[in-house]
Every structure is written in structure tokens, then in C-alpha cells.
């Protein structure tokens, strides 16, 4: 956000910056498509760079993966917060959940990400922060939902979180289309609302 030294910065960085972004994007796609086990070279190829470049930007495969998760978590948190502020409280919760689940269905790595496939994404400060951020955004959302009465008071963030998680994984696993997803989200929401 804040580019230090407004004027003559290191000029090279422009390319590097772009490469990093392409790498992240490519990695997201490739990991999503082929799983975490793909050779790094595959990622590099998809990003149109050499393996060395991957390693210049990320110390190792795990770090690359973590960077994706962090980016993704941040994006989700941002979107969530946007919806909390702009959206109709009555539908905000449904919408954001639906959207999150929808994305998860496409980018196969979300669950992979959170699950981190056995290997525990070692809580980097950055990761911890992004997580907390997401959690906070979701908490706001939940509070909003409870305020307008679509969710009963006794539902906790943790519960919401884990149900959301389950939905994401299922969406990904069963390759839900919009219809199926909406239905599942609806069913789940029914459970959260008042009897």
C-alpha cells in the first residue's frame, strides 16, 4: 500500500513485483488444479518464469503455499468486511457465506489451505494476523446476523467458522454448482436460525 520514497525508488522492483504477483496467481491455480504435490517447476512454468525465480521470491515450497493462503485469507476478510458494511443485514450473512463457498468450489485450495494437508501451516505472524482479521470480520457478520434475527444468539463464531469450513470442503469435493451450493447454504442456515 505505502510505497516508501515516492519518487526514485529501486526501479528494478517493478519487474520483481510483477513476477511475484504472477507467481502467486499461477501457484494458486496450479495447486488448486493439481494439488500440493505438483513439482515447483510446474508452478514456475505456469508463471512463465524459471524455478530459480520462484526461489528468489519464496524460500521454499511451503512458504509459497503459505503466501497463497495468506493472500486468500486477506481477500476473504476484505470481502467479508465489505459485505458487512454495504450489505443488507438480512441477506449479508447468506451472501458472504455463499460467495466464500462459491470461491472455494472453484479454487480447490481453500480447504487444502486451511487443512494444510497434514502439514501445519506454521503460524507465521502474517498468517496469524490474516486469520485473526478474517475471524474478526466473520464475527462482525455473525453479530449483524444475530442482531436482525436470522441467527440465534447461541451460535458462536467458532461454530459458524467450522460449518463454513465444512461447506467449503464439500463444495470443493462435490464440485457443487450454484444451485447445489445455494441449497446447501440454505439448509445450513436454516439450522442456525430460530426454530
Amino acid at each position: 500500500m505505502v510505497t516508501a520514497k515516492p519518487s526514485q525508488d529501486r526501479p528494478l522492483r517493478a519487474d520483481a513485483q510483477r513476477n511475484r504477483a504472477r507467481l502467486l496467481a499461477a501457484a494458486e491455480t496450479v495447486f488448486a488444479t493439481s494439488g500440493l504435490a505438483v513439482p515447483i517447476e510446474e508452478v514456475a512454468k505456469a508463471a512463465g518464469v524459471g524455478v530459480g525465480t520462484v526461489y528468489r521470491h519464496f524460500p521454499n515450497k511451503e512458504a509459497l503455499f503459505e503466501a497463497i493462503v495468506i493472500a486468500r485469507t486477506r481477500r476473504l476478510a476484505d470481502q467479508t468486511r465489505a459485505l458487512v458494511e454495504d450489505g443488507d443485514p438480512h441477506t449479508a450473512l447468506f451472501e458472504i457465506v455463499d460467495r466464500v463457498v462459491g470461491e472455494a468450489a472453484v479454487k480447490k485450495d481453500f480447504a487444502d489451505a486451511l487443512t494444510a494437508a497434514g502439514r501445519d501451516v506454521k503460524s507465521t505472524d502474517e498468517m496469524t494476523e490474516a486469520s485473526a482479521d478474517m475471524r474478526a470480520a466473520l464475527a462482525d457478520l455473525l453479530a449483524a446476523g444475530q442482531r436482525v434475527g436470522v441467527v440465534t444468539e447461541d451460535v458462536t463464531i467458532a461454530e459458524l467458522f467450522s460449518l463454513l469450513y465444512g461447506l467449503c470442503v464439500a463444495a470443493e469435493h462435490y464440485n457443487w454448482d450454484g444451485m447445489q451450493r445455494a441449497r446447501a447454504v440454505t439448509l445450513t442456515f436454516n439450522g442456525l436460525g430460530p426454530r
Copy 2:
């Protein structure tokens, strides 16, 4: 279940039989504990045999893994059917789901199994059969639930299946204890029942 050559076997066969069983048990544990990426040798060691023996019983790693999934699926199907027949229709659905989810929380490999971590468990005949079996049992369960009115008519087996799946994964991921699990299952069931 299907013991090939029902009657007189050479005594050695007994050892082999036992080895296969130990192998399956060991593999289930080891995969659950350390993920699918563990070297086969680890499994062999855990089973107290040499790698060669593993390969005598299963053509390759994937087959071993599949065998576990099949065994597990069969077990679940059996349990489900048992509950359908013996259990109180009002609680049967809840109970079986709770149990399945409970097991999933312990044996980390269930989701791993179904998700099959990227690689698609190629539907063997056996696997297909076990799956169908499980699906049928769950269908019966669902039908029973609908008959007594705890689940609305419009819920499909596919939907039930995927929600169940999501619960399992979440249970595993968040390491739910009995309480948390019951709560999640309850919430989910609320969603399936009549308004």
C-alpha cells in the same frame, strides 16, 4: 467378509491372512497419523513386516490406501444399516451421523480418504460397490428420518451425504470433542428438519 476359498487352506495362508489384516490396521493408523505421504516402509514397520510383504498383498501404495477406504466404507455401511434396523427412527439419523462424524474426528483419514488428496480413488468395482452400499444404507436412513418427520421430504441423499462429508472434515480439522460434535450435528439437523 469375502474370504476367498472358504475351506481348507495351507497353514501358511493363515499367516498371510493375519499379515493382511495387520497391514490394513497399521496402514490406517499410520496414514491417519502422518498423512498419505509417509513412506511405505513406515507402514511396513508399523505392521511388523517387510516392505516386500506389503507389495505381496497390495500391488501398490494406492491400492493399499483404497483397501483402507473400502474397509472403512463397508464398516460404516454396516453400522448404518444396523442402526436403521435396530435404532429408534427418531434418533437413528442423528446417532449414525454423530457416530460417523465421531469416527472421522479420530481417524483423520476419512476425509483424506474421500477427498483422496487430489488423486481420485479410481473407482474399483469393489470401491464402487462399497460406496453404493453405503449410499443405500444412508438412503434407508434418510427415508426413515423422513418417514418420522425429522427431515423434510425435499432433502436428497446427495445433500445429506455432502453435509455429512463437510461435518466429518470439520470434525477432523477442528478436532471436535463430543460436545462440539453434538452441537454441530444438531445445528445441521435443525436445518434439515421442518421449519
Copy 3:
């Protein structure tokens, strides 16, 4: 030395034993010829095995190298001790030094070994033991030399050791033939003897 269980041991081990030996021999040659930087595959090829076999016997390159050093040190210690016992005290010191230096000239790895090329051969117990053994043998030799008067009393083992070391390196570096070596050893011995 002591092969446990004289009769029916694990039969396979014979091959493995042989491979380990071949590996050690090959590695000694290859490292000597091409330096410590040669790819492990080169060593494997020289031993007529696959890389995997190298790694079955030695956890990593360094361990392989260390094994060579240990073997070599033991051999030297043994030879030294033999000379101490069998040899004429008047010539024993000269002879053993000459021989050690002679070997060093051929097997280029001796100095490499001791120097351990920058990386410090982490003192394994085995290594420590072998070293101590060698040192002890040399101490005996020195004592013998002093007893018969070819070396003055004030020469310490450490001094002998380091001069020997220097000679070895020089022999290797300058590729001394027997004549050159004998001359250098003689000159050095002159320095150790009484004026």
C-alpha cells in the same frame, strides 16, 4: 571382526556387506581423484551400484566421507602398531612415517581427510576413537624412537603429528616419488634427532 552368530546369520547381509566395502573403496578412489565435490552418482557408478544404495549405507555424503576417514585412520593405526611391535626400533619410526607419507601420496584424500576440507568432520564417537587409537600408536612409536635415541626427548607427539601431517600433504601436493619422499622424511628426521 567378530561376526555374531557364527552359523545361520541373515544371509542377505553378505551382499550388503560386499556393497558397503565396494562403496567405501570406490569412494576413497573417487574422492581422491576428483575431490570431495564429485556428485555422489559418480561414486555410485564407480562402485557399480545405484545412488540409492549409497544412501542405504550412509545417511549422506558427509557420513560416507567420514567413514572413509575412519577406515583410513584405523588402517594407519594398525600398521603403526604392527611396526612398533615388529620393527627394529632404530628404523621403525622412519619406516612408518615413510610408509604413511607414501600412502598419502597415492590416496589423495588423507590430508583432505584430516583437514576435512573446511567442513569439520564432526567427531563421531567412532571417529574420536579411531583418532585416539592412531595417536596412541604414534605415541608408542615416538617413545620407541626416543628410547633408542633417534629422536630427542623434547619432541612431543603433537609435534610429530603435525610434521607428519605436513609431510603427507606435501607428498600429495607435489606428487613425490619414493626418492623425493625418502629425502623429505630424512630431512625432517634430522631435525628431530640430536644435534
Copy 4:
């Protein structure tokens, strides 16, 4: 010594000159400390320049290393010659040897240099010249020693050279302090003198 284009250079040239010097100094230290295997980038960092600059001054890593060896050899030759001229013939030999060995003990790269760690420092013209220079200086020294009788007539330059080499390596390897070094040099000299 040989500054190309003696007179008017562009001011930038000054920077380049300085960079080359810093590079050489940094490389000497870094190679000495961490061995020849350190990444070039390490050297660059130590010199406070980018890798590109290293390659502007030296075509490749080997050339950089060779430049160090040459510089070092020249320095030794100069010092030697100085001692030959200024020093007391009776102690000159001892002194120069002691000094050379002393330096070798500090700058670990001397032996590394001469041994050239497996890779043979391809005799560049420059290198050859520097070597010859050193050899000549040492020859003068030896001659002086022989003239005053501290060294017997039959000692050849080659012999002196190789003993010196051995001492250097040993000094480096055993990390001799001044005392230990003096003792070793003395012992060695005893050997070179008349009986």
C-alpha cells in the same frame, strides 16, 4: 603493481579501482573464513557491491580466486626479497619462513590456494610469473642460507619449497600459535642444517 593506463583516467575508473581492491580483500577474507564453496553473492555482500560487479571485474569465480592467489604470491615474493636484501643472512631464512608460515596460519586460504582444492589453478601467465617470482626469491634466500652455512649445500629449492608448504598447511590445520610455529620451524631447520 601494474596499473594499466598510468596517467589520465575517467573519475569513474577510480571507483572501479577501489571496487576491485575491495573485492579482492573481501574475497580473501570470505574464502578464508568459509571456504571456496561460498556463493559469490557472499563475497559481493562482504565487499558491499552487487554480484554483477564481481563479474565485471572477474570473468568467473575461478578467476577471482586465482587473482587472490596471485596477489598473495606476489606479496610473499616481495616480502621474501625484502628480507633477503635487508635481513641478517643468519636469521633471514628462519624469519621469512616463520613469517610465511605465520601468515598461512591466519589466512586459511594459502594451502587451499596452492592445493587449489582439487581444481588445478590453471597456470595463467600471470600466475606462472608470480610463482616463478616467488620461487626465485626463495632460491635467493636459500642460497644466502647456504652461503652462511645454516643450510647444507645439498638442499634444493624444491625441497625447501615443499617443506615450507607442509609447514603452512600444518600451521593452518593445527592453528598454531607463535610458539608452536617457531618450534616447528626450528625443528624443520635443524633438519636442513649441517649435522
